[in-house]
Amino acid sequence: MDLEHQNIVVAFRHALIDRLGETLYKTFADSHIAILGLGGLGSHAAISLARNGIGKLTLIDFDRVEMSNLNRQQYRLVDLGKYKCHALSEVIVSFNPLIELIAQPIRLTPDNVADYVKDVDLVLECLDEAEAKAWLVRTLRSELPDIPFIAASGMAGIGSANQIHSRKVSDNFYLCGDETSDVAEMGSLICPRVAVCAGHQALTALRLLANVED
């Protein structure tokens, strides 16, 4: 590490501690979160968590960045054709010099998902297909019930952001979204509405790590 980079790292850490306080800084810096799916939800959630000083993120998606993603996902023209996990890593390291990233351009299945997330503190489900969301919840809630799991359902269309909420379903299982707006019916995802839902997921994650109860 050259001196200039070392100075940036020290200053970045100092600024984070200044904003968060020592206790929260340490809690977040010591945490490892897995984000499964890096579309509208996952790209927004990852950036929020990285900005708030989460120490380590595992980013998993087999998809590559396409032009049709740019209306709502946190990628750039220069990212077209790259794996989303690699492109998002580049975006994140452009503002966070401390974070550790594990990028996995793999297709998750019920048979392999537990292996990829068994060592994390928390999992965010950010997939797009309803069936995939459902098997992911069923699989991880049964194989890794002690790892908090934050799923999302219902953020399509241009309905009010006030319909989007976070709730605890049961121990270690949280759900964010309006729980009804299906992209198959609403036809599209609108950037700020997906971002609101991703914000709910990221905030739920930070609140759990900070041990804040309602």
Binding site: L127, K133, R138, R141, S142, S153, S181
Partner: protein, 65 residues
């Protein structure tokens, strides 16, 4: 009586989870079922009969992300 998604549902006392899901026309590929705070594996939908005090949560997923 059992509580289903937070509501008292007396008419489903003695009914299997599978039957409840069928009556309510849930698409089993798009749901996760929590039974008394734990995920209920699909293979047990038939075996679990809802009884007094049970808590059943059926979470339905819609597409988009």
């Amino acid at each position: 009586m059992p509580f289903i998604n937070g509501k008292k549902e007396s008419k489903y006392s003695g009914v299997s989870v599978h039957e409840y899901l069928a009556v309510q026309q849930f698409d089993e590929r798009r749901i996760a079922v929590e039974y008394n705070g734990k995920i209920l594996p699909e293979k047990d939908y038939d075996k679990v009969i809802l009884k007094d005090g049970d808590q059943l949560e059926v979470v339905t997923f819609v597409g988009g992300g």
